[in-house]
């Protein structure tokens, strides 16, 4: 079955530390891939997206993600986390065309 998995429900990192959030998908072909962030009480903000081409994509707020076809993964990274990055992060895919399918989300907490 087609699915998106975020294996880590919660992650806690210290401010200034690096971050990697994992995302794996299961689709027949490479879908369009997205990361969204949801801050408390806020909507879903697009961080970055991958459609084709360079497998390392840059997004807003200093985030990047790397698409690895062999691992069906699209992990989100940031070299140095800020306290304001505390939020819930969602990986999502669009097989082609229409509806977004979301992973379960990873809640990031940042220790001072």
């Amino acid at each position: 079955a087609q699915s998106v998995t975020q294996p880590d429900i919660h992650i806690t990192v210290s401010e200034g530390a690096s971050l990697e959030l994992r995302c794996n998908y299961s689709y027949g072909a490479t879908p369009y891939l997205f990361w969204y962030v949801q801050s408390p009480g806020q909507g879903l903000q697009l961080l970055l997206k991958y459609f084709s081409g360079d497998t390392l994509v840059q997004g807003i707020k200093g985030f990047e993600a790397e698409f690895k076809r062999s691992q069906s993964s699209f992990n989100l990274r940031k070299p140095s986390v800020h306290w304001s990055d505390a939020a819930e992060y969602f990986c999502a895919v669009v097989p082609r065309g229409n509806m977004l399918t979301f992973g379960g989300g990873t809640r990031l907490m940042v220790k001072p």
């Binding site: 997205f34 909507g43 879903l44 229409n98 977004l100 979301f102 379960g104 989300g105």
Partner: protein
């Protein structure tokens, strides 16, 4: 920067009542979507809308739901007879090309 807006931000209703959730998509966008997120669960696709008709809907989107674009700017989701299990955050999204969807801040619906 243009953004999707949604009203109201919060809605409390009695079971069996009708509710209408309103969205103003980004002005030059042609594709519109509704998603919902039940507390603690994944964001789920409900429906997509293009050229004044539904282009795709999920199994969640049953006969009690309807969508409409009553004028050139608004996009609404109506729930005819609300149930307790309709309590969720409802997100509207819009897109200009079916590739990238931009989300509103959501309407939190509580059915008592």
């Amino acid at each position: 920067e243009p953004e999707v807006t949604q009203t109201p931000s919060h809605q409390v209703t009695q079971m069996g009542q009708e509710v209408i959730l309103r969205c103003v998509p980004i002005s030059n966008h042609l594709y519109f979507y509704w998603y919902r997120q039940i507390l603690g669960q994944k964001v789920e696709f409900l429906v997509s809308f293009y050229n004044n008709e539904i282009s795709e809907k999920s199994e969640i989107f049953d006969d009690q739901f309807s969508v409409e674009r009553p004028d050139g700017s608004n996009f609404t989701l109506k729930i005819r007879s609300t149930k307790l299990e309709d309590s969720a955050m409802y997100f509207c999204a819009s897109s200009d090309n079916q590739e990238t969807q931009y989300f509103g801040p959501g309407t939190r619906l509580l059915v008592l």
